[in-house]
Symmetry: C2
Subunit: 195 residues, 2 copies
């Protein structure tokens, strides 16, 4: 994973990871048999690690966090801010593109994973609705689809440097605001009202 994140997934070689791990080429062969299996193991490890990361951050929220706070944690974890999350986003996307052209890496991962997350977000929205944090008229399924796509899209924008993490977070917060604001009839205030 270190090699892949540093030099790109495409330039991962058996000798390269052997050198990075400080062991011999033969040992890599012994444990992974073939390169295809090494690559697949990398993807599996990536998924496991990211799931653990998310779980840890969710636990850190306390016993019964609000739906909005949980969603923001989801987003904060997905956003490539620190080195580790940047690494994850880069590799995950690289693997996804690889799976589209190389039949040896399982494409199912990129369907099942997001599907699970979407389900979790949808039920989170349901919880938020029942607790009054979100508008009751929301369609949780549709909203979850939009949210997960938004999280991924903003994440990519931050990753490539088009957008700062702060502005991405602001945009996400703005979107969440609209999910919670009750249909109100406040007069639209223009910005030339003060200063």
């Amino acid at each position: 994973m270190r090699v892949a994140a540093r030099e790109g997934l495409h330039s991962v070689s058996l000798r390269g990871v052997a050198a990075e791990a400080g062991i011999s080429l033969r040992s890599i062969q012994y444990f992974f048999e073939t390169k295809a299996r090494l690559m697949q193991s990398g993807l599996d490890a990536l998924e496991t690690i990211s799931n653990e990361r998310l779980s840890a951050r969710l636990r850190a929220l306390g016993p019964s966090p609000g739906a909005r706070a949980t969603l923001e944690t989801y987003f904060a974890v997905a956003l490539p801010t620190d080195h580790e999350s940047r690494q994850f986003h880069l590799l995950w996307t690289s693997y996804a593109m690889l799976a589209l052209t190389d039949p040896e890496v399982s494409a199912r991962t990129f369907v099942d994973g997001p599907n699970r997350q979407q389900k979790r977000i949808a039920s989170l929205l349901e919880k938020g609705k029942s607790e009054g944090e979100f508008r009751r008229a929301l369609n949780s399924e549709t909203e979850a689809t939009i949210l997960i796509s938004l999280i991924h899209g903003l994440g990519t924008a931050v990753l490539v440097g088009q957008r700062t993490a702060e502005s991405a977070f602001a945009s996400f917060g703005h979107y969440l605001d609209r999910l919670s604001q009750q249909t109100s009839l406040e007069p639209d205030r223009d910005q030339h009202s003060s200063a």
Copy 2:
């Protein structure tokens, strides 16, 4: 581009594209000098072609299309439905990941391009607001950020096969609906009202 879309960007070789083009290795060398320049030319061509594709689709909308119709066209073009747009999305993302690890391919492309599109969408929203198609209270900049991220995120979900193009289109439409709906106080209808 054909080779890259078929076998993955990582497995593009000088000999491979020479064979695909039906010319000799030497000719590829003659016109592109080095592989780095060949790759960069590919990215440039990709951007040019996609811009032309978008322009053509926008022209086909007629003389003065509505803001929402224009946005839907933006989305339809970005969505990887046919072979050509799938190819584009795959290669664009692959190039973006490549640019993050390989300093030889310009990373600026992935900042400038989306920035331009975001500006266009923001001004489109402004137009929509002034013509009554969208709520006047919208922050066009923020909304454009969300829209472009949403477009990209949904596009990726469709590309990897997690989501159908139809459902992505429905989600996008649902989002646009909320940009246009005036703050109303309709009673929230539950789904157990009928059937």
